[in-house]
């Protein structure tokens, strides 16, 4: 549906987007995951025809959007990172304006406002001015304003920044619902768990480049990620570490302060062996945590930095 080939964009001498290629398939939710400054917003600004690219191609349904911007503009719902609404107007007036911008009118517009306001959960506050809304409601209206015209493709740029967990959950569920109704979604975030929860496929970006892409499983496999067992132990000593390393399913261990991090191999794990290995050598185990591999692992493995660094 959307194909990005060798896309480049620089601001002065800084390469914001550095020769990236990826595709967005019809009906999927594609996540662009990366820390702040990774180039996610610049990439989607070029897809949304807001920025001119320095090089490469963006093909929407096979046509270059540089030459035919209208092709994507009329089928796109763009939700910018900031609250792009008129705060002195009511929620209804905002939805009406954005609906008309996309050519809706009359009964069709009224029906869509009714439908979308229910999906985003502001139908009872439509007459209130946006400046009277909570942060979460503004975020939801911000998304709703891009959905009125049943866009084929929706771009959401970090739509959950700075809101409470309840509103965040509402937004994520709304995105899933929109996707189920047939819209293709590009979702950018630096929240790994959101991308994991929502996206069918993920592109991980860092310093303007795509450093990995695929489904979550494909990404985890690409770095051979396994579960980690994290032990909190008082009086850690060399003998305890040696004892743990002798257990057959332990691949390797590392320590940090009072923690022993065990990288395991295979699925046959007997946790009592670990308890014995610690207690036999005078260690006092205070906690044990099993951490499943996630995208944070992938990012860490690929860049040597945590996603939120």
């Amino acid at each position: 549906m959307l194909e990005i080939r060798n896309l480049k964009k620089s601001f002065n001498k800084t390469k914001a987007v550095d020769d990236i290629s990826f595709e967005v398939r019809k009906g999927e939710i594609l996540g662009l995951l990366g820390p702040n400054g990774a180039g996610k917003s610049t990439t989607i600004s070029m897809i949304a025809t807001l920025l001119k690219r320095d090089g490469g191609e963006i093909l929407y349904k096979g046509k270059d959007i540089g030459k035919n911007p209208k092709e994507i503009q009329r089928e796109l719902g763009f939700v910018p990172q900031e609250i792009a609404l008129y705060s002195t107007l009511s929620g209804y007036e905002n939805l009406k304006f954005w609906g008309k911008i996309y050519g809706l009118k009359g009964d069709n517009l009224r029906d869509k406002i009714k439908e979308i306001s229910k999906i985003i959960g502001i139908d009872k506050r439509l007459k209130d001015k946006v400046e009277e809304y909570s942060g979460g409601m503004k975020r939801r209206l911000n998304i709703g304003s891009a959905l009125l015209h049943n866009p084929e493709i929706i771009i959401l740029d970090e739509p959950t920044v700075g809101i409470d967990p309840q509103s965040r959950k509402h937004i994520l569920d709304s995105v899933k619902e929109i996707n189920k109704k047939g819209s293709t979604v590009i979702y950018t975030s630096h929240y790994m768990e959101e991308v994991e929860y929502l996206c069918h496929r993920i592109c991980i970006m860092d310093e303007g480049k795509i450093i990995a892409q695929g489904t979550k499983d494909e990404l985890l496999q690409s770095i051979s990620a396994e579960e980690k067992i994290i032990l909190e132990v008082n009086n850690i000593n060399e003998e305890i570490i040696d004892n743990i390393n002798k257990i057959p399913y332990v691949k390797n261990t590392s320590t940090r302060d009072n923690s022993i991090i065990i990288q395991k191999k295979g699925n046959n794990v007997d946790y009592s062996e670990i308890l014995e290995a610690v207690s036999n050598k005078g260690g006092h185990l205070t906690s044990m945590d099993i951490k499943k591999p996630d995208l944070e692992f992938v990012f860490l493995a690929l860049t040597g930095r945590a996603l939120r660094d």
């Binding site: 949304a48 807001l50 792009a84 002195t88």
Partner: protein
Amino acid sequence: MFNIFIKDLKLFLSDKKTLALIILMPIILTTILSFALSGSFAQAGSDFTLNVGIVKDYDKAGEEKRFTDFMVDLTENYQVDIDEFQKEDEFSEFNPEKIFFEDYLGSEEIREILYYKVVDREEGLKLLENKEIASLIIIPENYMYDMYINTFTNFRNKIEIEVISHPDMNYSGSITKELMKNFSDVMSSIVISKNVYFETASEYLSVEKIAENIPEILNSSQHKGENINIKEGTVDSKNPISSFAYYTVAMLSMFILFISSYGGKFILDEKRNNTFQRQIASGKSLELILVGKFFMMFVMVVIQSSVMIGFSKFIFKTNWINLPQVIGIIILSSLMVASLGLMITAITLKTNNYKVSDAFSSGVVQVMALFGGSYIPIEVLPKFIGEVGRFTPNGAVLKAYIKTLEGYGLYNIGDNLLVLVGNIVVFLIISILIIRRKSDAEFIKS
């Protein structure tokens, strides 16, 4: 485009602070200034009257005798028959006091607007201080003698008629000065005619012959004197402008300019909160968004002008005389403000900060208001300010409204409308040049 325009209009109307500035503020200022400076203007609904005091510092009888003595001395030296001259009553007919008080101030045109009272200097100054009179005209010592000398001899004595006006009644003071200047011009033309005759005739005629023809010159001069009027002055055939009418249009012509800064402010607000980018992403062009702003400013000026004019009509009872002409001025001035606003919007968008629109609303408008005559009528300001003011858009708007209120037709306000059209064309060309130099995407980059 209509949707964008409606949205901008709603945004404008939802901002109570802005509405107070552009609708309430000019009404309040108009009311305050109109009452405070009402003494400088004609009263609405009544004929314009100018009350002045006149001080006679001269001694009529003494100065006539002094002149007769001078002429007797002249007769003895040049053998001119002065008795014959007096017998024909020409000398007594030429009475400078009569010319000033009866022929000039007593003429029908002047009598309609000017009431005078002969007072002594002290009483006159007191009346002036109490604003019972707008001006005090002081006819100097030797006025009679000097007028005779200037008229019947080849000598030229300088006569200075002093006009003292109350500072709060500058407009009336200006009219009084204009009337005195008019009188002075006519009298000068008499003296010049006589002197030309003297100088030319003295080459060919004897002194007696020259003296014989003087009465004829004076007759023709007096004929001229009968024609003294204020046709070329500032008050002839005009409807009086009350302070309420003047300050309504003065404040209106200034406050419409404030609206021009809102296009820039609005578009930068939209850029900062990303609604601008969102519109571009939806396929709306920059030009379309700017046209929406243009019409928003146009309609706001129409609303602002209509409210002000309606207020002055129903509250101050101002007679706007020619409504179609007033509507025409409203439309043209609204187009002017919208064009100026478009230019400011384009510059604001290019520079990406509020400084341009802020500088315009806090600085440029004030300067234009001064030069255009919104604070003080340009007639009482230095001449160069008036000259510059003629070409300011607000000055042209002010003049067009004033002339309409005075009863002038479309033909008479043509030059003011031309200035407005010129301003519109210049603003639009500059706007287009700025917009065309930048692409949508470059405008978006912050």
